[in-house]
Amino acid sequence: MSGTRKSNADGKPRRRGNPALRRLACYAFAIAFVFAGWEITALILDTPALPTPAATVPVFISYASEMLPDFLTSLYRVLVSLLIGVALALPIGLALGRCPEADALFAPVLYILYPLPKIVILPILLVLLGLGGAPKIALIALTIFFQVIVVMRDAAKAIPQNTIESVRSLGCTRIDMLRHVTIPATLPDLFTTLRVSSGIAIAVLFFAEAIAGSTGLGYFIMESWAMISYTRMFAGIIALAILGVLIYEAFDLVERRVTRHRR
């Protein structure tokens, strides 16, 4: 992507206004929207199991500092497992997509393993890796791994033959092809799968933390539930939502930097 950096220098028209401010305004709207829906539902149901946002937010604020270690633990687990899952799956996915022989051999293996719920091997991971972060990271990474392989393989397959031939006719090596064509062509798909995967990663993380161990937001939420402290539980759910938003925004930021041509 060496050359894309220096683009945008010659006064091409761009949208007016501060994009960061515009985004903040969007989030203000989103929060108001979600809270309004929540408030209405809570008023209709009128049950202690669903406290109103008005009741939850003060609890969230009072627990904020107590939740912070759990929040950071969960954030760390999601990020590390995404990193491991993608780092392993990306080269395999691209290789399968660009090599029909390998794909014919391994696609059935993928199809057998991909739909299996990876959570079923959590007991094995717990035995092997203990009750700490490692089994949770392994579980999420494994779930992400298959997602990313399937998406990146299809993305690599979808590169137009003409693009490949025109670059190949310049006498390029495999590394050149990877650098100039395969990676940039599949980058948008990588970000799509990262976004889908991070949602799944958080869901799996919640399960893993709720089932085993005593750290992380998942544990915090389940513990509150066991204590029948619903406001504390929903404070944990708010923290989980913030975790998701942070990860999404981080991916958006990186994506906008590396795929400038898609403005």
Binding site: N8, K12, N162, E165, S166, V167, L170, G171, H180, H261
Partner: protein, 256 residues
């Protein structure tokens, strides 16, 4: 001889086991001298594109040989360039980086690379658009960019696979003129594959007519008077177009 096909045959495996082999090219034999401009014309499926893929080293013949500078082509060669019908540009790279791509792949030194890229972009009239992306250019500009990438390489063999067929009539003429000027100035050997009779006569010193199933050469026409922009409006040009049209008709062609 810059490029020489002798008895070059290309067969593709059949789609169904019961079918016969698909013969895209049947014992193709012709040569292109240094600095010569040849056009190949013929209906779809006559193996024109396969011939260019052979010459560029993207495809190996099933039998027969393809020589460039007397040596067998078995991989893409540094001073051959291939320009494809839908341009083969990389949408994720700027105009400048697209034009520079061949030089970067050939590991040309940085300042030299910059000089040649800018001079190629100037030649095709895209110097002011260096920081744009291909999607921000018109079709004609995109085709100019594909040409810039080829001429930045300083090639001695330029292969063009229906490079102008996606453009409207006016743009086509403009780019045909550009192609002619580039060839007159640089005098590389050039093989242009086209569907258009006018284009074939305007840009080819020699015109090769091919027929399909199996792809083969059925007619050759010499056209030594090409080589100027005025040729397009001359009596002789129209005569040659007519002659070529007749040859295509008798070859069972369906060209425009």
């Amino acid at each position: 001889m810059k490029l020489e096909f002798s008895q070059a045959t290309v067969q593709y495996p059949p789609l169904k086991a019961s079918d016969e082999l698909l013969c895209a090219l049947d014992r193709l034999s012709f040569g292109v001298s240094d600095g010569e401009a040849v056009t190949i014309i013929g209906p779809s499926g006559c193996g024109k594109s396969s011939a260019l893929r052979l010459a560029s080293g993207l495809l190996a013949p099933s039998s027969g040989t393809v020589l460039v500078d007397g040596k067998q082509v078995n991989r893409p060669r540094q001073s051959t360039a291939l320009v494809l019908q839908d341009f083969g540009l990389l949408p994720w790279k700027s105009v400048y980086v697209n034009a520079e791509l061949g030089l970067a792949i050939h590991r040309v030194e940085r300042t030299e690379r910059k000089r040649r890229t800018m001079s190629a972009l100037e030649k095709v009239g895209l110097a002011d658009f260096a920081n744009y992306y291909p999607a921000e250019l018109s079709g004609g500009m995109q085709q100019r960019l594909a040409l810039a990438r080829a001429i930045a390489l300083d090639v001695d063999l330029l292969l063009l696979d229906e490079p102008l067929s996606a453009l409207d009539a006016l743009l086509r003429e403009e780019l045909q003129n550009l192609l002619l000027e580039l060839w007159l100035e640089r005098r590389h050997a050039q093989v242009l594959v086209t569907h258009s009779i006018e284009e074939a006569v305007f840009l080819g010193q020699r015109i090769i007519v091919m027929a399909p199933r199996p792809g083969r050469v059925v007619y050759e026409m010499s056209n030594p008077d090409m080589g100027s922009l005025e040729y397009r409006s001359s009596e002789l040009y129209f005569k040659r177009c007519l002659e070529l049209r007749k040859a295509l008709a008798s070859a069972g062609g369906e060209a425009q």
